[in-house]
Symmetry: C2
Subunit: 169 residues, 2 copies
DNA sequence: GGGGGATTGTTCGTATACTAACAAGAACAG
DNA sequence: CTGTTCTTGTTAGTATACGAACAATCCCCC
């Protein structure tokens, strides 16, 4: 029954023809998303390379800078990372002296995170050029295309990891 | 100097205002692409879970099925994977009995890859439902939005990993 | 007020990614 | 031929992702 809705929804997936060979990898959204994401990571490295930081580590620092102090799990949710993943990211940022961990007196389970002076300084410098990553990534698109792309991306991805996001601007 | 073109290109990144705090993580394309990609991977797992296969392994099998036989590096390029990455993917697919490797008499460096009978059978069954992954991922978008999104994704990602793709359908 | 259930973090294991350093083979210039 | 260069594939090391199993807490309800 799902097939019905599917067939009706987008003719790109039409594959009732002669050979069922109508499946084209390069036309699958997941595949294209992976390529685009890899591309964006390249841009990140090109622009932020000097800081020797990864996109996820940057995301964690940026969010910590915004919020001042949060628990590890909370930060993970805000940056779309697993508890297991954020754990590793924070460990590396701590080892690097950018993040400080303390325990919450109210709740023994929490690890209250915050930026160190070095961390604040670093993220401030990084934020200064970080916007260029988005610019470069969106370069092949016109302004209108970029806006539409941006909105579509929010609809697809925001469902899972982000808190309801008011479309700023 | 780059800043000039950048500032002119999209006002979203305008951040000359009072506080330079105008940087919002959730508005960065790279971040949103990561979220969307994670979302698409979820969909893949939801739809293809029964086959116990990952998106990349599926991509490799699908391409092998299309081409019949290619070298490992070639397959990696076509599926947007590093030599190091495709190496591991093929190793796992071989261990599973889906892929067969032989050496090319003309060129001793190449590892000619091909599907085994089990591999062919598996990928055929998988292709039957794989289209649903894209459908589900694009569900939050209207047809028009999905088309625009698709085109934008191609422009952004295709530059790096895909051979010039004629959008035949 | 104590126990069951939910939350927070950690650890383990597997699968990507990508860099760097290498070994082999092929291509090609001279 | 021979040396240089390019391509292919491997291996080692680092950083994500994510499922699963766990210990420590916390919270809420009977």
């Amino acid at each position: 029954m799902a097939a019905v809705r599917i067939r009706g929804k987008r003719e790109r997936a039409a594959k009732r023809g002669p050979a069922a060979a109508a499946y084209v990898l390069e036309q699958q959204v997941g595949f294209l998303l992976r390529c685009a994401h890899q591309r964006a990571s390249e841009m990140f490295k090109a622009v932020m390379g000097d800081f020797g930081i990864t996109p996820r580590q940057f995301a964690a620092l940026a969010k910590l800078d915004d919020l001042g102090s949060v628990s590890q799990n909370q930060l993970g949710r805000l940056t779309a990372m697993d508890p297991a993943t954020i754990s590793g990211v924070i460990a590396r940022l701590s080892a690097r002296g950018y993040v400080r961990q303390s325990s919450d007196p109210r709740d023994g389970r929490l690890r209250a995170l915050g930026l160190t002076a070095a961390g604040e300084q670093a993220i401030t410098a990084m934020k200064g050029v970080a916007a260029e990553v988005s610019e470069r990534t969106l370069e092949p698109l016109s302004n209108a295309e970029a806006d539409a792309f941006f909105k579509a991306l929010c609809k697809i991805g925001a469902t899972s990891c982000l808190p309801p996001q008011s479309s700023r601007n």
